[in-house]
């Protein structure tokens, strides 16, 4: 039983609409170590993902519910979220 740890990924707003998923659990490939690596990996999962992450630079990310930059290592995070720039208030 080696079972890789699953990482929970959440998508919001138009990122959610384009991937077609609000959330999913994925097993991380070994070459994925940062948030940016994960985006590159997700882009290969289908046209919806490719569209969602087309302009990766505009996508915001959070690790365990705190904002992070794309070069942040995923480390032991349990939850990653991707979303457009925020428009609350």
């Amino acid at each position: 039983m080696i079972g890789k740890t699953l990482l929970k990924i959440l998508y919001f707003a138009w990122v959610r609409e384009r991937t077609g998923l609000a959330e999913e659990d994925i097993a991380l490939p070994e070459n994925v170590t940062t948030v940016g690596d994960l985006i590159i990996h997700l882009k290969t999962k289908g046209p919806g993902y490719a569209s969602a992450f087309e302009n990766a630079g505009t996508i915001r990310a959070a690790l365990d519910q705190a904002h992070v930059s794309h070069d942040t290592p995923l480390g032991n995070a349990r939850e990653v979220a991707f979303f457009p720039p925020m428009t609350g208030g």
């Binding site: 919001f12 925020m86 208030g89």
Partner: protein, 159 residues
């Protein structure tokens, strides 16, 4: 100092008067109350509602971090932030910030700081619903909001 801090993310509307009273009743040290209410505009009748999506858990956590920073930067006596989610009709309330302090400067500044940070850091997204039945796109973030938030960034002391 621990001050009364209320943070709520909810669908239900809020009552400004009741929220102000909650921070001012039964005490005589409050000399200033500043409130900000964000309301859904109809954009000259074109827009009927905004739908607010949020990231449950992170929304509360992020606003709590902002509240903590506001409390450390200004001598506040109390602070309330209520942000609604779900479908909000034109004319409806979206967000409420209430800050109290002994004097007005801290209350004004902290309320403005909290709103600027809410706009750019709290995980909420608005989708437009139009009068002709169309569901519009997602509201785009504005550079002007980033600029407003950046002015609160502490500049490193000059050498």
């Amino acid at each position: 100092m621990i001050i009364p801090t209320k943070i709520a993310i909810r669908a239900e509307d809020f009552d400004q008067a009741a929220e102000i009273a909650a921070l001012t009743e039964s005490r005589t040290d409050v000399g200033a109350v500043a409130t900000f209410t964000g309301i859904c505009r109809s954009e000259n009748g074109a827009l009927t509602a905004l739908e607010l999506e949020h990231y449950p858990g992170m929304a509360e956590a992020e606003i709590a971090r902002m509240a903590e920073e506001a409390t450390s930067r200004w001598p506040l006596l109390g602070l309330t932030v209520i942000h609604r989610h779900g479908k909000i009709e034109a004319g409806g309330n979206i967000v409420l910030v209430v800050t109290t302090s002994s004097h007005r400067a801290a209350a004004f500044a902290a309320a403005e700081f909290l709103m600027d940070y809410l706009k750019t850091r709290a995980p909420f997204w608005k989708k437009e619903h139009f009068a002709d039945g169309r569901t519009g796109g997602w509201v785009e973030a504005k550079d002007i909001d980033d600029t407003a938030a950046e002015r609160w960034t502490v500049q490193p002391a000059a050498e």
